[in-house]
Amino acid sequence: MMEPITTLTPTQTEALIRKLTALADDEIILAHRDGEWTGHAPILEEDIALANIAQDELGHATLYLDLRRALDGCDADRLAFFRGADEYTNVRLVELPKGDWAFTMLRQFLFDAYEALWLSAAQKSNYVPLAEIAAKAVREEKFHLQHTALWVERLALGTEESRRRMQNALNELWPHVAQLFAPLPGEADLVAVGILPELEKVRASWESFVLPHLTEKCDLLLPMVPAQAQEGREVHTEHLAPLLAEMQSVARQHANAEVW
C-alpha cells in the first residue's frame, strides 16, 4: 500500500482535473439520455427506476466535480450547462440517442459494470478524496448493475422480438465500449503513483463479468469489432450538440437564476 498523497504537482493536478471532468461528463450525458424516458418508459415501475438511476448518476457527477472544485474552484453548474459539444469529454457510448428499451438497458448495463468495477478499484486510490467518493458511489452503483443485468437477461431470453432487439443493441453498442478503457493524456502518470486505477486491469475484470453474462447466460453473439477506440473524448457524434441544446436551454435562458 502506497502512502496517501496529499499534495499534487501542477502536472498531476492538470491530469486529475481532466480525468474527473471526463468521469463527470459521462455521468451527466448518460443521466440525460436516461431522463429522456421519463414519462415514456414501457411500464410505470421502469419509468421510476430509470429516473432513480439518472438521479444517482448525477449524484456521482456532483461527487467528481466537487473533487475538481477542490483543485481549481470550478463551478459544477457552469461546467454542465455552459459548455458546448466541443468542450464536453464524455465517451461516445453515452451520447448515442436513447433508442429502444433493449438499447437503453444494454447501454446502461455495459456502463454500470464499467463504473462499478472502476469505482471498486478506485477505493484503493492513495488520493484519499477519490477513495472516499468511490467507496460511497460503488454502493449505489451495484443496484444499477443488478437491475440492468436482469433486464439484459430478460430481453435476451424473452421472445424472438426481444432477443432480436437485444442482439441489435449489442451490435450497435459494442464498437463503442473500447473507449471506456482508453486512458486520457497524463492518466498513466497518475496510475503510476497510485492515484487512479489502471484501466487495463479494470477492463480485464469488466470482461470477466460482462462477457459470460452476455454470451453464456444470455446467449448473445459478440460482434467482431476493432480492439481499440479510434478517437479521443474530444471527438463526438452528431448527437451530442442537440442533446446539450435541450439540456442547457433553461439554464442558458435564465443564466443568473440560482436554481434551475
Partner: protein
Amino acid sequence: MTTAHVTPEQVWTALAAVPDPEIPVVSVTDMGMVRDVTVDGGHVTVTFTPTFSGCPALHVIRDSIGEAVRALGVEDVEVRSTLTPPWTTDWIQPDARERLRQYGIAPPAPAEASPLITLDPDPTRCPRCGSLNVRMTASFGPTLCKRLYVCDSCREPFEGFKSV
C-alpha cells in the same frame, strides 16, 4: 443579540427532533446521518453524512440542521458534510427501525460487507403482517433509498428500505 452557550448534548437533543424530509417518522439522528457535533465557545459545528449522493433532500437536511441549532440561540453554526465512512443503513437506530415498520416501510436487512455483484435481493418481511411471502415489484422506489414490494399473504403493497 448574544449567542447562547450550548452543550453538545443540547445540540444532539435538538437534532433528534429534525425529521428526515422524506420519511418524517424518523429524525436525522435516528437515521445515523449526524456524525459529529462540536461546540467551541459560541461556534457550533455539525458534521453529517449524506445517505445517497443524488438525494434531492440533501440541501433541505443541511438547512434544517442549521435552523435547529440556531433555534437554540446559537448564531454561528457550521454544517459540514462528510463521506467517510460512507453512510450505511446499519446505522439506523433500532427504535427507528420499529417506527419505519409501523409507518409501513420494511426496515433494511443488515448491509455488512456484501459482495459487489449480488443478484439475489435481501430477505424482506411485510411490515403489516410480518409474512416473508413477499415479492419485490420494483427495485427502485419513489425515493433513492427504497424499493417496492407486495405481500402475497395480506395483499398489501409496501415500500422497503434498500440495504446499503
